[in-house]
């Protein structure tokens, strides 16, 4: 007795004919009704405009998105730049004192200057706009992530590094297969931490003309429209709360 289930062979021809008929009917009705997919795609914008007028977005929506975009860009590039610098200033990977010592000194100095001051200086160079704010955030997150990262690189398990070195691996291979896997969770966690801080500071950078929701804050306060200030406080509160929750969740899934 076999445990095979016997399935009747499908009626191929009938099935194919059926599907073809259905497709034919659909296509024919579309052609008969002069339906044109290109027209739909071209016209989508007009529909979107009407929708936007039906459900108008509040005035803070654009600046809020700008703030988030600034925080994302600033954190991403800052954290990306931080990785090679952290490798270079970690004592156990690249042991060159005349690179390490000045780099660490430089990182220390970067972290002592508030992002606001950087933003004000870049506004003098790049003009008013969010670009200056983003550069300030890049520098801030670079300093923060690089400092935390080289400390955790120095705390990794040396066994894997030695095992690779003893097999004749060069420094790049050691970094890829012994260092990176060990520090990746911390790296992402520090980046998220920098992101949380950046969202908060991006929200006030507008004060010095560096874009984002801070400009609205400043304007509302200058005109003493306190109901607008309250609205902005609630909005940024909800966004920050949501992002904190989200990054806590990501962090927990890493550890």
């Amino acid at each position: 007795m076999s445990d095979r289930i016997i399935v009747p062979p499908p009626k191929r021809l009938g099935q194919t004919l059926g599907i073809l008929t259905v497709i034919l009917v659909i296509v024919a009705s579309a052609i008969f009704a002069r339906f044109n997919i290109i027209e739909v795609i071209l016209g989508l914008q007009r529909g979107g405009r009407i929708l936007a007028r039906m459900f108008p977005l509040p005035g803070w929506f654009g600046p809020l998105m700008e703030t988030l975009q600034m925080a994302v860009t600033g954190t991403f590039w800052g954290a990306l730049l931080a990785f090679p610098i952290a490798i270079l200033s970690a004592r156990n990977i690249v042991d060159v004192p005349w690179i390490r010592v000045p780099l660490r000194f430089f990182l220390n100095i970067l972290r002592t200057i508030p992002a606001m001051v950087f933003a004000a200086m870049f506004v003098a160079i790049f003009g008013i706009g969010n670009f200056s704010g983003v550069i300030a955030l890049v520098i801030f997150s670079f300093g923060l992530v690089a400092k935390l990262l080289f400390e955790s690189i120095e705390a990794i398990d040396e066994g894997q590094v030695e095992a690779l070195r003893s097999l004749g691996a060069d420094t790049l291979t050691v970094i890829r297969y012994a260092v990176l896997p060990q520090i990746l969770p911390q790296y992402i966690s520090y980046t998220l931490y920098a992101f949380e801080i950046n969202v908060r500071s991006a929200a006030v950078l507008g004060y010095v003309g560096a874009g984002g929701i801070g400009q609205l804050f400043e304007r509302a306060l200058a005109w003493r429209r306190f109901h607008e200030v309250g609205e902005l406080v609630i909005v940024s509160f909800v966004v920050v709360l949501f992002l904190d929750f989200f990054s806590a969740k990501v962090r927990r899934s890493l550890i």
């Binding site: 998105m65 700008e66 988030l68 975009q69 600034m70 925080a71 994302v72 860009t73 991403f76 220390n108 100095i109 002592t112 200057i113 508030p114 606001m116 001051v117 004000a120 200086m121 003098a124 160079i125 790049f126 003009g127 706009g129 969010n130 670009f131 983003v134 398990d157 894997q160 095992a163 690779l164 097999l167 004749g168 691996a169 291979t173 297969y177 896997p181 060990q182 990746l184 969770p185 908060r200 929200a203 006030v204 004060y207 010095v208 874009g211 804050f217 306060l221 200030v229 406080v233 940024s236 509160f237 920050v240 709360l241 904190d244 899934s253 890493l254």
Partner: protein, 288 residues
């Protein structure tokens, strides 16, 4: 997430190599894992592109070259007369005011944080109350410092007091969280012993809880002091006292030699304070 990179596998197989001496890649991912990872990367890439799309680069200001040049020159020849000006308009006074704002603000917040931290500790008040306590602390943390400073300016007028109050309230958000984590990690033995002997809540607090967690509490407070030192430097922007106001005025007025001396002094002070407080913290934690 990095399931393919488990160190266990490395130890067991001792880095498998192929005949040409190249390292073999870590074990292959299953199809769903692979697709999930690709999806993660795609979402990441989309978020980064979205962020870049919001960037408005309007080119460099025409005066930028001159600005950078005079800025660089300012660091070679900073405005030393401002440093030596010992009146109320001088740098030493502003610096002292900044430090005192940070000290007083941190002290206020350390005191205010304790009740919030107790309320947010699950092992003292149970999970339901603790959840509320944690929410309140998070709410305080997300309220921007500068807005708080503006609120307090309308209460006490522009000046250092507004800065102290703003830092004092805002720091509850971080200190309360760290304090409650320290309390939650403590040994419950002394507390239960005191309670079973009929100790009143205040006695339990001062004789069982605080003695255990105080080194950590002081260490966190010092750490927050380092952060507040930096924050106090920006509060001046809205008129809450300290070194921030002259700094922003100097930058906006393109008085680079003055901005340079303020930044130099600020950097040196902050580094000194950081090192001092790091040394104290290390001592506290090692218990000597």
């Amino acid at each position: 997430m990095s399931k393919g990179f488990e160190p266990k596998i490395y130890y067991r197989t001792a880095f498998p190599m192929d005949s040409e001496g190249r390292f073999l890649v870590p074990p292959a991912l299953s199809r769903t894992e692979f697709m999930g990872r690709i999806l993660n990367y795609l979402i990441m890439a989309l978020i980064v592109i979205w962020g870049l799309a919001g960037l408005q680069f309007k080119g460099i200001m025409q005066t930028a070259a001159a600005t950078v040049e005079s800025f660089g020159r300012a660091f070679i020849q900073p405005d030393f007369s401002y440093l030596l000006d010992t009146t109320m308009d001088g740098l030493p006074w502003a610096l002292l005011e900044t430090i005192s704002i940070a000290v007083a603000g941190t002290f206020v917040s350390a005191l205010l944080s304790l009740p919030f931290a107790l309320m947010a500790s699950e092992n003292l008040v149970g999970p339901r109350v603790a959840a509320w306590g944690k929410t309140i602390i998070t709410a305080i943390r997300t309220f921007p410092e500068l807005i708080l400073a503006l609120l307090f300016i309308s209460v006490v007028g522009p000046g250092a007091s507004a800065g102290i109050l703003a830092l004092g309230v805002h720091s509850i958000g971080m200190l309360g969280k760290l304090f409650s984590e320290a309390i939650e990690a403590m040994d419950m033995g002394p507390k239960e012993a005191l309670e079973s002997c009929g100790g009143r809540p205040m006695e339990v607090l001062t004789r069982a809880i605080l003695p255990q967690v105080s080194p950590e509490l002081i260490s966190f407070t010092l750490y927050r002091f380092e952060i507040n030192m930096r924050a106090a430097a920006t509060l001046g922007l809205v008129g809450a006292g300290g070194i921030g106001a002259p700094l922003i005025f100097a930058i906006n007025g393109r008085q680079w030699p003055r901005a340079a001396i303020i930044i130099l002094v600020l950097v040196i002070t902050v580094i000194l304070i950081d090192n001092l407080s790091a040394a104290i913290r290390k001592r506290l934690i090692s218990g000597r």
